[in-house]
């Protein structure tokens, strides 16, 4: 198990060209589960390939615990990896597949079969050990790929490159559950690359949301949901994404097209000092319908969609479009909707970055 540190790590495909990865400084604790989440082309796979040793970064260092592995060969980094499609040795049995890395390390056969039995049981493959790996289902093959990393007790980290891509949608959550269970049992450092927020937020303790080669925020699912550090994170996490409305600040009030919304005074002060383009951000699910006699802000309703377990109201606050997510039993009058923006959920952004 290893603590992975990225020291000022950056990468340009061609010297002087633009950055595939902006120089970054991160520490991923030993035994932690981390996810690299972002749209295609955001550099998440490049970062994974640098950690696995497939690509040597143009600048900065990769540290496993105290050793600098930036230019060490993949073989010597002692990592495990699960790829986008099942990578297994077709002609071997499941047992031989799992035993292969140990046999290459000249471990004695008794130890090998004990380890393989143990990991196979953990992965739910104990029944298929002598079957030919080729005839198994895609998710079983991905478990074999994972197993080849887990059999090695000294594996430093296990990397996942969008492993659920080829899995049938209805089986995905079972494999997610299995990965989660394994991480609970073996305190292993895991790095998981995906463009799907559910996979990232379910799998990882900490998620790095990436865009155009930059890590915009590294935080727990809670932090990403409640305090997105960047407007893109607010948009990308949660569906539908966070509402953003240009605003100005006066005292502890954010003014959006004349509507005064009370925000946290410290945040308002910091926003005023920062200047630049200010935006008020609030999640559709955290906007509350005003109760009887409670004074709220008027949202002119454009459309209401009945999504079964909730209603999604699309309306306008002034001329800013706003999504509001209401419980399915909420009554919406035809003359518009009075809503309340709870102060603790209303966040201020200056030039797309969270203030204070």
């Amino acid at each position: 198990m290893a603590r992975i540190e990225l020291r000022n790590l950056g990468h340009q495909y061609a010297p002087g060209g633009d950055y595939a990865l902006q120089p970054m400084q991160h520490v991923w604790e030993d035994g932690g589960a981390y996810a690299l989440l972002g749209p295609s082309g955001c550099g998440k796979t490049t970062l994974l390939n640098i950690i696995s040793g497939l690509v040597a970064p143009s600048e900065g260092q990769v540290m496993f615990d105290e050793t600098d592995v930036t230019h060490t060969r993949t073989e010597d980094r002692n990592i495990g990896q699960v790829f986008q499609f099942p990578v297994i040795y077709d002609t071997m049995s499941v047992f031989d597949n799992l035993a292969f890395p140990l046999r290459n390390r000249r471990m004695d056969e008794a130890y090998v079969s004990q380890r393989v039995q143990h990991i196979a049981t953990m992965l739910g493959l104990e029944g298929a050990l002598n079957r030919r790996a080729k005839n198994l289902t895609a998710d079983a093959k991905q478990k074999i790929s994972l197993g080849r990393g887990l059999v090695r007790e000294d594996v430093s980290a296990v990397l996942f490159d969008e492993p659920l891509t080829v899995i049938d949608p209805h089986l995905k959550w079972q494999l997610r559950r299995k990965l989660r269970e394994i991480h609970e049992q073996l305190a292993l450092t895991l790095v998981y690359v995906t463009h799907d927020q559910t996979e990232a937020l379910t799998f990882a303790d900490k998620v790095a949301v990436m865009l155009a080669g930059q890590v915009l925020q590294l935080g727990t699912p809670q932090e990403l949901f409640e305090r997105p550090a960047h407007t893109f994170v607010g948009y990308f996490i949660g569906s539908p994404g966070m509402n953003f409305m240009e605003c100005t600040v006066d005292g502890s009030q954010a003014i959006v097209d004349g509507e005064h919304i009370t925000v946290d005074p410290a945040m308002a002060e910091a926003a005023r000092q920062h200047g630049g383009s200010l935006q008020l951000g609030i999640r559709p699910g955290l906007i509350r319908a005003a109760g009887e006699g409670e004074s709220g802000h008027r949202v002119q309703v454009h459309s209401v969609e009945d999504l079964g377990d909730y209603q999604l109201v699309t309306g306008y606050l002034g001329n800013h479009r706003v999504h509001v997510r209401l419980d399915e039993s909420e009554k919406i009058g035809s003359d518009g909707l009075q809503v309340v923006f709870p102060t603790e959920n209303a966040l201020l952004y200056a030039d797309d970055r969270l203030v204070g």
């Binding site: 040793g53 497939l54 690509v55 040597a56 230019h71 060490t72 060969r73 993949t74």
Partner: protein, 276 residues
């Protein structure tokens, strides 16, 4: 790429050396043919030398001026181009049918084509000879072009079917939905999509018809005699004209070399009958 240790480095060196060795083995006989073609018979039979003392194009000039020689090339090229046209025109719709549809006997027909592709030409010598003789087509270019259809049409169907299978069926359907009639779709949309496949197929049709000797020789006499026959005649006569034979040999390789650069990425798929 990740850093290569020196273990890997002299591994790569060893590989390059072995490869160079094999390429030398391949090129040596070819060099020798070229070497002979640039000498006169007198110099060839004289002092044994590794390269021509005074290189001359006399053998080549001889070929281009002597009608029995250059007509050999013309005849060969004529029936090869005829065969290529017939084969490709006939094979395109058939390959499309095999790649898109199931119909009665489709598997057996596809297998039957494979057996024809593999059939030894010697088996068909006598029947072809008689057939074309009675039909009055003996010693004509079309006779050889038709005879070569025996293996070239199956070859074209198999290779084209391999390339066509790469185009999703949904593309055809989208075109039909748009309103394309079958022929319009085939020519305007489908053919451009398998351009590289057609290119490789034409290359193989050219090659297999150009290299065939047995049928071409036995179905022709004088006015359609291919270059192959012309060459085999000189080498069996006493006092062999080595220089001209070598020059003729070099010229038969030129067409292949000119074209191979354009098909090099798909040549393997062609050889594998479209099965990779």
């Amino acid at each position: 790429m990740s850093a290569a240790t020196n273990g890997q480095r002299n591994g790569v060196l060893r590989n390059r050396l072995l490869l160079a060795l094999y390429i030398t083995f391949t090129l040596l006989p070819l060099y020798w043919l070229l070497n002979m073609s640039l000498q006169t018979n007198r110099e060839i039979l004289g002092q044994f030398t590794l390269w021509p003392e005074n290189p001359t194009l006399q053998a080549y000039i001889g070929i281009f001026t002597d009608s029995t020689w250059y007509m050999g090339y013309v005849n060969s090229l004529t029936y090869v181009l005829m065969n290529m046209t017939i084969s490709i025109l006939v094979a395109l719709p058939a390959a499309y049918a095999f790649s898109r549809y199931r119909f009665i006997g489709d598997k057996h027909l596809f297998f039957w084509l494979l057996t024809n592709l593999m059939a030894p030409p010697a088996v068909f010598l006598v029947p072809y000879f008689q057939l074309y003789y009675t039909v009055g087509l003996f010693d004509t270019h079309i006779a050889v072009a038709m005879a070569h259809c025996l293996f070239n049409i199956p070859l074209a169907v198999w290779i084209l079917e391999g390339f066509m299978r790469g185009v999703p069926k949904e593309v055809d359907e989208t075109a039909y939905i748009d309103g394309y009639s079958y022929p319009a779709f085939f020519i305007k949309i489908f053919i451009p999509m398998i351009r590289s496949g057609i290119g490789v197929t034409l290359f193989f049709l050219f090659m297999f018809s150009w290299v065939e000797l047995l049928l071409a020789r036995s179905l022709t006499a004088t006015n359609a005699m291919p270059i192959g026959t012309v060459m085999t005649r000189t080498s069996t006569a006493s006092g062999v004209d080595w220089a001209t034979l070598s020059a003729a040999g070099v010229l038969t390789i030129v067409p292949g070399i000119l074209v191979i650069y354009f098909v090099r990425n798909h040549i393997a798929k062609g050889f594998a009958l479209g099965r990779t």
